[in-house]
Amino acid sequence: MKRALSILIGGLMGACAAYCLFYFAGTAAHRKVLASKAPELLWLKKEFNLGDAELARITQLHEAYLPQCQARCQHIEELNRKFAQAIDSASQLTPDIEGLLAERAKARTDCQAEMLKHFFEVSRTMPADQGRRYLAWVQGQTCLSEAPMNHGGTEDTDHHH
């Protein structure tokens, strides 16, 4: 019985050890990435098969882009606040509100243009095929691909008449 018990327990312990071994070996690279300073850029490196030099250049571009992006966001937030206040104290469309709408739309457009410029710069840093793949991916993931126009399914009849 002793021998049978030792085989039984040994098998179970071996299974646990095999599980841990494969789990830790399989996640080692990812855990290293997650523990890094900018894991999303290391993910970009892995996803788009980039070299160290390319990653360094993209990190530089990324770090230069973020403070500018943050400043633009603050500007848009400020315009949103002003716009909300103007709406609250108005009962009809005023030139002030129109001006704020236009200014906010301009700020958003500038933000999107800068974003697109950044994406082009990043894609040019990558090998050509990966750059194209990157551009297609960001286009699908970001606000650059907007939701299709929808008037509750009536747009066809409205537009064709």
């Binding site: 019985m1 021998r3 049978a4 018990l5 085989i7 039984l8 040994g10 098998g11 179970l12 071996g14 299974a15 646990c16 050890a17 095999a18 599980y19 841990c20 071994l21 494969f22 789990y23 830790f24 070996a25 399989g26 996640t27 990812h30 990435v33 997650l34 894991p39 999303e40 850029l41 290391l42 993910w43 970009l44 996803e47 990324h62 882009y65 973020l66 992006c69 943050q70 633009r72 966001c73 848009i76 937030e77 949103n80 958003r108 933000c111 999107q112 974003m115 950044h118 994406f119 960001v138 993931q141 970001t142 606000c143």
Partner: protein, 137 residues
């Protein structure tokens, strides 16, 4: 035993005619138990059932365990069976570990991709909450 029951037992003979059967049926239908049950009868029955149950259960468990032990002691030490058993467990462990790692890394990849998009696209997050961007992290 009351009178009706006594009459019923008298009627029960090995050879019964149809009339006897009808008479027996009438007597049985007319038979009513009039004497009351002793106090706490139902509780006593349940208590005896409860007392009887654990007495039988461990015995059957012990028997099952003894059978398992005997089977393990006789089968597991056989080299072919032992190798097969350990191999199956090892392969199962390896596959489970590999599958778990795969699922987890896929989920981390998705999270990192989303984090990158949130970092570069403020409008991406705006749908959820205005400018709660990851670049402020």
């Amino acid at each position: 035993m009351d009178k009706a029951a006594f009459r019923a037992t008298k009627i029960m003979k090995p050879e019964r005619s149809n009339e006897d059967r009808e008479a027996l049926g009438r007597v049985l239908r007319a038979w009513r138990v009039t004497s009351p049950l002793p106090p706490g009868f139902a509780e006593n029955v349940w208590r005896r059932i409860e007392q009887a149950e654990p007495a039988t259960s461990p015995a059957s468990n012990l028997m099952l365990w003894a059978m398992v032990k005997t089977w393990l002691a006789s089968t597991l030490p056989r080299p072919a069976f032992a190798i097969a058993y350990v191999s199956v467990l090892l392969i199962g462990g390896l596959l489970a570990g590999y599958w778990r790692a795969h699922v987890e890394t896929m989920s981390w990849d998705k999270a990192l991709a989303s984090r990158y998009v949130q970092a570069v696209d403020p409008f991406h997050v705006q749908a959820v909450g205005p400018f709660q961007k990851s670049f402020r992290n």
